[in-house]
Symmetry: C2
DNA sequence: TTTAATATTTAGATAAGACTAAAAATTTAT
DNA sequence: ATAAATTTTTAGTCTTATCTAAATATTAAA
């Protein structure tokens, strides 16, 4: 069984390797974990000893199949709990992360299985991210940047890339929230701005905004 | 904020002092925590430094008001989660303890508050133990040993004192489970055995059984 | 009330996970 | 291709929570 700290490192490596496709550096891990490179090296050795990562000195790190399964299991729990908090306990999308960071480490196969059933076997969390199944299979994400949405397509806001207060306040002011329905009317090739219909009101947004808002096609 | 280990010690002290009425010895704490007396002493010093217990060398330990609040808060969460697991996630009463031991340490005021609301502000957990309120007030327990129940009184099985497999198997064989309704027909003063009506069938149980089964008057 | 038994504390060690500072390897730039 | 910059690793320290063994205090017994 992996410790809490080991699970957090595995999760970090999984995300950094973009679902286990690339090799990850010690520094990148340290940065993501908000710790020092020497601490990362220590943990890398430990995960290697446990057969959870492939590792050669100075050459970076890659999850083994066991490591990937452990990471995905934590991510599965994280996303199930986020959905539980939003759907059942009246949390809003921006309040769930911190609590889910704790809940994701609870060890009980039955709990995860029953929570999944209670939520009626969901495939996406409140941010539009896919929820891996019990076998560790990750459905491909249905979320994309608003900037990529085609003309006349309808979509639903599911998250932000930039989560700074400034951007969140901008969204608030312009009545864009999680779940808001957006229709792309047109795009301006000169400055990459976009004309949208939001709540039946027409509005123009800049390239910056379009590149920091995640949506799901509806 | 108390660490996980500190919370477990506070909980142990609370239970050992029978809701904070008596002084607790180092050895008793060590035994409850399944650790050595020297480890208990170490933790006692730490809790004392943090103002969570009163302590004089060789004289035993007592929770301060802050310590009591911290302990009760953990117990509140434990019991809310146990109820959640049984009522919402199809756990049975004997499966919940281990998971609740983990969930009780999740730190989020909002989570506890919303869980309480989701469960419609319950006052008892699945074992018939009272759930403290958000201010740390503990409703008095409504559960008692079957041996104490008066003649012709109806009650409901809410837990066991002896949780060894042997006893649980005995209960199973005689169709006594959590929630089973029991009516006390009579008691034999000679051997303290009791005549009961269980599921409309008359049955006699020994003193040993009567002293290991918790019920709630209904 | 002095001794024996028990309970408690102290001292020193260990493992996990973090840190700093310094050494070694790798990569980049001249 | 060598020097400089960067990255990674090593060595040694710290804290938390545990342990064993030894010392000290308290309680019980003769």
């Amino acid at each position: 069984m992996a410790t809490l700290s080991e699970e957090n490192y595995l999760k970090a490596i999984f995300h950094l390797s973009r679902h286990d496709k690339t090799v990850v550096s010690t520094n990148a891990i340290a940065q993501k974990m908000e710790t020092k490179a020497s601490s990362a090296t220590d943990m890398i050795k430990k995960l290697f000893e446990k057969g959870l990562i492939d590792y050669e000195k100075y050459k970076g790190v890659k999850l083994t199949e066991n490591g990937r399964l452990a990471a995905v299991s934590v991510i599965r729990k994280h996303r199930l709990w986020e959905l539980f908090l939003v759907d059942k306990l009246r949390f809003s999308w921006d309040e769930v992360h911190e609590v889910a960071e704790q809940l994701e480490h609870i060890k009980s196969k039955k709990l995860t299985r029953e929570l999944d059933a209670f939520l009626e076997f969901p495939t996406e969390d409140p941010h539009g991210d896919p929820i891996p199944d019990a076998n560790g299979n990750m459905p491909s994400s249905q979320k994309l940047l608003l900037a990529k949405v085609k003309q006349l397509q309808r979509c639903i806001c599911v998250g932000v890339k930039d989560s700074t207060p400034k951007f969140l306040q901008y969204l608030d002011k312009h009545k864009i929230a999680l779940g808001t329905e957006i229709t792309v009317l047109s795009r301006e090739s000169y400055d990459e701005s976009m004309a949208l219909k939001i709540n039946n009101i027409q509005r123009t947004i800049s390239k910056e905004v379009a590149h920091n808002l995640f949506v799901k096609i509806s």
